[in-house]
């Protein structure tokens, strides 16, 4: 709620603008629509699920933008066969 209030407050709106722009320009420069990230997430979960059990609800796929490059950062919790959570596996792949 606090974050939401800050979003709408007049002050600090410049910070919000900057963050939105940094995120958005990463997508613009890659020439992919931001909504595609959700589809990429589904594709990754489907592919990995064929080999191992995945905790689908807690999968995170994010675009990390740095000065001259972008990365997909993927966080995929796995489920061990006996019900307890397996070691969290974080996968990284570079997207340029």
């Amino acid at each position: 709620m606090k974050a939401l209030n800050r979003f709408f407050a007049k002050s600090n709106s410049a910070q919000v603008a900057k963050q939105r722009l940094q995120t958005l320009l990463a997508y613009d420069r890659l020439e992919i629509p931001p909504g595609v990230l959700a589809l990429i997430k589904d594709d990754i979960v489907a592919a990995i699920s064929r080999r191992v059990s995945v905790d689908c609800e807690h999968v995170n796929v994010n675009l990390l933008h740095e000065q001259n490059s972008s990365k997909l950062v993927v966080d995929i919790p796995l489920i061990a066969n006996r019900g307890a959570r397996a070691v969290r596996s974080a996968g990284r792949s570079n997207a340029r």
Binding site: S11, A14, A17, K18, L21, Q22, L25, D28, R29
Partner: protein
């Protein structure tokens, strides 16, 4: 590594004898390209350079209006390209400043009347006579923009400190780079220092971080601009206000002078009450 324009280096191989084509563009409309072209063109002429400003917004010409030369147009760039007049006949001399000319756009045609190759040829002709050729690009990224970009040695991308303008500028910078343009500089226009201070407006540092492009000028919001365009008398003609000073600084940097970039500061209340120091 290109020498920085802010350190007073001449551009690339250009010497003071060679002409330079500078395209003023933005992507987003209404950010101040035409006003900048008019004022920087005049300021360069005030420094003693031979300057021509070219309106490439065919169909929606405005450079003539902002400069107060609209009543003198007989021929325009399309008349020249289509062979109805000589180039000299289409050029309008601005009598306020020595050695400043305007090549107007056509008002009754559209952007397809001229193509990029023809723009390059027009500029090649102009290079024989002028030291600086400033092209006022239309908004957008379609043919008008392509026409304006094609002959450019140097590209000025004008932005306002707000999200749409910055996003569009990023696209335009990418397009210019993909066409082999290496000298691309930002002008941040309509900065309101008090709002930047209150974090309501993107700061120069924010913009530098987001766009990673060198800044050649920062022009504060200035009430004098509206009156100036109402009268057809650009602010640098006789103005001392913040925008006029900023435009003159840009002209000085373009002609190779070392002028450090200053970030406009918000005035204290006493300064606003008693007027700014000129």
């Amino acid at each position: 590594m290109l020498p920085s324009i802010l350190n007073g280096h001449a551009m690339n191989e250009h010497t003071s004898l060679e002409a330079q084509v500078i395209t003023v563009t933005s992507g987003k409309g209404g950010v101040g390209k035409t006003t900048l072209t008019a004022n920087v063109g005049i300021a360069l002429a005030q420094l003693g350079r031979k300057v021509v400003v070219v309106d490439s917004d065919i169909g929606l010409r405005n450079l003539d209006l902002v400069m107060g030369l609209e009543h003198r147009i007989v021929y325009d760039i399309v008349d020249y390209v289509e062979g109805r007049c000589r180039l000299r006949q289409a050029l309008i001399r601005d009598k306020r400043v020595a050695e400043l000319f305007l090549l107007p756009a056509a008002q009754t045609r559209d952007k397809t009347a001229v193509n990029p190759q023809q723009m390059i040829q027009v500029c090649d002709e102009l290079r024989k006579e002028f030291e600086f050729i400033l092209i006022d690009s239309p908004a957008g990224i379609e043919q008008g923009f392509q026409n304006a970009l094609a002959p450019a040695d140097l590209v000025l991308v004008v932005i306002n400190p707000e999200v749409s303008s910055v996003r569009d500028a990023d696209r335009v910078i990418g397009l210019a780079e993909s066409q082999g343009k290496t000298q691309i500089y930002l002008v941040i226009n309509r900065v309101v220092p008090a709002r930047v201070k209150r974090q309501e407006m993107l700061s120069v540092e924010d913009i530098k971080e987001v766009l990673s492009t060198e800044i050649i000028g920062i022009v504060p919001e200035d009430d004098a601009i509206l009156s100036a365009s109402n009268r057809g008398m650009p602010v640098v003609c006789n103005g001392k206000g913040p925008a006029a000073l900023a435009y003159r600084d840009i002209a000085r940097r373009l002609s190779g002078e070392h002028v450090p970039l200053e970030i406009p500061q918000a005035l204290g209340w006493w300064q606003r009450l008693f007027g700014k120091a000129s």
